[in-house]
Subunit: 124 residues, 2 copies
DNA sequence: CTACGTGCAAAAAGTTTGCAATCGC
DNA sequence: GCGATTGCAAACTTTTTGCACGTAG
């Protein structure tokens, strides 16, 4: 069904070399180095396809553009850290406790998203 | 400096009657009932002003439009619940524990945002 | 060879800005 | 009256879509 094209390969390579969540613009900037006239629309279309196929997963940070990361990273349940100085988003392991106590009566929690904000080791 | 206009009053009233985070479109839909030809740009400008003045605070939910809530609600540290069925966002009390254990060495955490996803009591 | 994927340009959707008219203080 | 605020339209930004061509399988 889904074909391996030069464009798709370059986009997947961008994720592998970056090792952190990337926005559509960052992905385009990285992949365009290999495919000169890569269209931004191709990036958007490919991202949607990769997400549908479970290759990548979306990462949302408040007041930031959308990002994506490789799903095999996302499979291992984790959260994110956003550095307010350099803007980078890092993966962090672990998971908070006490979520059940926060859940209102009658509500069912299926997932949760957590982002820590502050300064990373380089910017601190 | 900042003037109380009919438009601003209607926008603040929308928050008070809703009692939950609202998106710019929801706010406009609510306030336009009182001010017939209220412009959407006025809503955006007023939201920015209210945020600058500390009257409202932004609420971000992954894959959702931006929302705002009254700051006196936000002052009391809390988090949010997003119902995947009705789309409503609820305020919830409490705070998870164990965040420090998740923080990588050398990183400093200043804030955190948490959203629980699932079904609310009406939709469960 | 066939139809999925691409590039480009145009269209949508969401947000911001310029400007003359309006209205709070 | 003065200047902050508004409505409208136009500009911007980000994402999606239409269409003819290219190319993977």
């Amino acid at each position: 069904m889904s074909r391996m094209t030069r464009q798709r390969a370059a986009i997947e390579a961008a994720f592998k070399t970056a090792g952190r969540p990337l926005s559509p613009t960052e992905i385009h900037a990285s992949a365009v180095k290999q495919i000169e006239n890569l269209g931004l629309s191709t990036v958007y279309r490919t991202l949607r396809r990769l997400e549908d196929e479970g290759v990548i997963a979306p990462v949302t940070v408040p007041d930031e553009p959308p990002r994506y990361e490789l799903a095999h990273v996302a499979e291992h349940h984790h959260h994110h850290f956003h550095c307010r100085k350099c803007g980078r988003v890092y993966d962090i392991d672990g998971c908070p406790t006490g979520l059940k106590k926060m859940t209102p009566p009658g509500f069912t929690v299926e997932e949760h998203t957590l982002v820590l904000h502050g300064l990373c080791d380089r910017c601190g």
